[in-house]
Symmetry: C2
Subunit: 201 residues, 2 copies
């Protein structure tokens, strides 16, 4: 029996929504409104996974419970020198981060949790992508931070925005760095018996 | 002396234009109209470089000659098993390519040539990015090819479109796979004395 499913993105991130739309999906956005600071785990992988799970389960257990929706929750952070970094606090913090990041290598972690709202089944996994930062000058860092972009994103950088010229390369999935790994989403959906192409608009 | 420069993209590729716009630039598009089939070099790196140079020089030596423009030309192809692949010929070719590509690793080559129209100075370099293809099923390949997307792109795949779930990862710059490496553009512009941030809109 073929059942048409609805893809629900449990995230307010415009970057994740754009990734999904560019890949042919038309997700409904339902923001969880959870307090992410309620999660504080020592292991970076466990931490982003727990936040992603909290977002997806909160949305799937709400008004959508029992519906045909598949709900995707994600959480992204940058691991640098063993420290897990989210959005910078302010402009000074963003500048300090870039002085620390340039010429170095970090790992962008994104926790993914997919919940079948019809059955309550939960599948999840963290994807990690190595990020090799370039070496922008002090003037380039100041110009970048002045755009305001780094204040809005985990790790204070984007791969699909103004800091793209300052990231020399990655090892892994590019979407994961932007906020959602589409090859991983495909595998998680398959575990729920949903073919990724069946969700194309 | 600070001179404001105009960025000109010598390419009809919507993916390249979008990469540049997303990164904060506002390039003018001037399509070269060159016959790419007039270039046929045995070495894959030399080939994409020669096509990129032909595009950029043709535009820079036209109406823009002597202007304040910096002209960027690019050419992308997929290297698989020693064979350099451009756009597929038709749907059957796209299906056959994916049957060959899935589960394998290729290298996406993009030649970059930047010409200072004011001085005629030329700087250029090829960027290569390893692409690890996933293993879509026959049904997924058929569904993907039916969208028409692979017929419009070098290598019959996209990293920023519907085949993103079928590419497991890359090693290198993601923009290079899409058609233009922004970290490489930054370095080539620096060789011409142009700071990349000075071109932000």
């Amino acid at each position: 029996m073929f059942v048409s499913r609805r893809l629900v993105l449990a995230s307010a991130s415009p970057a994740r929504l754009r990734l999904l739309r560019d890949a042919g999906f038309n997700p409904t956005v339902v923001v969880s409104g959870v307090d992410e600071s309620s999660v504080d785990l020592a292991d970076p992988w466990e931490h982003v996974q727990a936040v992603a799970e909290l977002k997806a389960l909160t949305v799937a257990k709400g008004d959508l419970a029992g519906s045909d929706s598949v709900v995707v929750g994600c959480d992204s952070m940058l691991l640098l020198d063993g420290e897990l970094l989210g959005k910078p606090a302010d402009e000074a913090d963003a500048v300090a981060r870039w002085h620390r990041m340039r010429g170095r290598t970090g790992v962008l972690l994104t926790g993914h949790c997919v919940v079948d709202a019809a059955t309550g089944q939960v599948v999840q996994q963290v994807a990690d992508t190595v990020v090799r930062f370039g070496a922008p000058s002090d003037a380039e860092i100041d110009a970048y931070v002045a755009t305001g972009e780094p204040l809005r994103v985990a790790g204070a950088f984007t791969l699909d925005g103004r800091s793209a010229p300052f990231v020399d390369g990655i090892e892994g999935d590019a979407g994961n760095v932007i906020g959602l790994s589409l090859p991983l989403l495909r595998r998680l959906l398959a575990e729920l018996g949903v073919e990724v192409t069946s969700l194309w608009r």
